[in-house]
């Protein structure tokens, strides 16, 4: 039995012990935004946040997430309002086929939490664990920088 909170909602499901967390999210919870590109921990398409940390969900068993809080790409938008990262990806044409995009969004989300004002080189390094075959990474880097500068502008505007 696995009890897990995903995108703020709690689920309880009976699962086979060998079911991977990625399959659990996709098949049991019908959250198909998280994708499988390799199932051996290289491509990053399955990246989610587990208790706030970016992890490869294909390398975890569903049972290991018992009691945990997960965030998947479906958590980013609030209704029809896009998260700044999503908007930035759209603005910068940082996706073509879109298959790697959820993984990059979650990786970027985690990264910007830790490093809200990164340099271009730091962004490139942070996303080096995610594979994209379409965009050549450049627009993804641009998008993450756009999102980070937007957030920092917002922070600056806030009264102390």
């Amino acid at each position: 039995m696995v009890k897990v909170t995903v995108n703020g909602r709690t689920y309880e499901r009976l699962v086979e012990v060998r079911m991977t967390l990625a399959d659990f999210i996709r098949q049991e919870l019908d959250l198909t935004g998280t994708h499988l590109g390799c199932e051996h921990g290289v491509c990053g398409a399955c990246t989610i946040l587990l208790n706030g940390e970016a992890v490869r969900s294909c390398l975890m068993l569903a049972v290991q997430a018992d009691g945990a809080e997960l965030l998947t790409v479906e958590s980013l938008a609030e209704g029809d309002e896009l998260h700044p990262l999503q908007r930035a990806f759209h603005d910068q044409h940082a996706l073509q086929c879109g298959f790697c995009t959820p993984g990059f969004l979650m990786t970027a989300l985690a990264f910007l939490k830790d490093n809200p004002a990164p340099t271009r080189a730091e962004v490139r390094e942070a996303i080096s664990g995610n594979i994209c075959r379409c965009t050549g990474y450049q627009p993804i880097v641009n998008a993450i920088l756009q999102a980070s500068s937007e957030s920092s502008r917002k922070t600056k505007g806030r009264p102390t």
Binding site: R18, E39, V55, S128
Partner: protein, 294 residues
Amino acid sequence: MKPAAFEYFAPVELQEALDLLERYGDEAKILAGGQSLMPLMNLRLARPKVIIDINRLSNLDIITATPEGGLTIGALTRQRALERSRIVRERNPILAAAMPLIGHFQIRNRGTTGGSLVHADPAAELPAVSLILGGEFLLRSKSAVRVVPAEEFFLGYLATACEPGELLTEIRFPKWRPGETWAIQEIARRKGDFALVGVALRAEVDAEATLQNTTIVMFGVGSKPQRMERGEAILKGRRISQALLRELSGVIAEDLEPDSDVHASAAYRKEVGGVLVRRALESALAQAKETVSH
């Protein structure tokens, strides 16, 4: 690629885990970070009958500064925690420097210190660093506890002194000698990949730029991290010069007997191993000069 079926246990108490390990012996595999084991299981290259998931054990992920100035690291300490640890940064510069070389941050979020050491991939950074630091490994079984020094821990390709029935719970590192310089360098095909060839190096450099007590450990060059004793010996008590560095490269290349694989040939690893050691030494020396001049 889905794993084959297995029986699964997630003990909460250490004793429970040890009981299970004794019961199932080599039918069981320990699941810690899963970053090495899960790919193998997904590919069905590993089909353990039993999985003992130790992630629920408490107090095995603590980093402690010992009174002697060393470090005690719980085996379940996530690599990312080690990377972010102020204590590690302050007390053990080579360990701190090794962490960002390991995979990618998502892998380090789950991967554990103990997991990497017991998995013992010869091209991994942590085994080599633990060797150069003279680390000690605390192995617990149901009925016994023993401490194995790093020199005796790594036996071969993916093989360590950790027996079936034993669990690595703690790694101890002695105090880093003040005034020592160090370097860790590797050649990898891409950032975060396993090293084609790598070197960890530490040395005492005296005021006359003479090397004392140099330790050179290489990784990616054979079935386990390799101490380059002949290289260390020719450096002892000698002043650094271009000629000495060339001699060192040659000796290192001679002493290496690496394997060939799809990423690099044995000849490459031999040659470049020699180059890398020289560069690591040059880097360590430059660092020492800088420290002295401050």
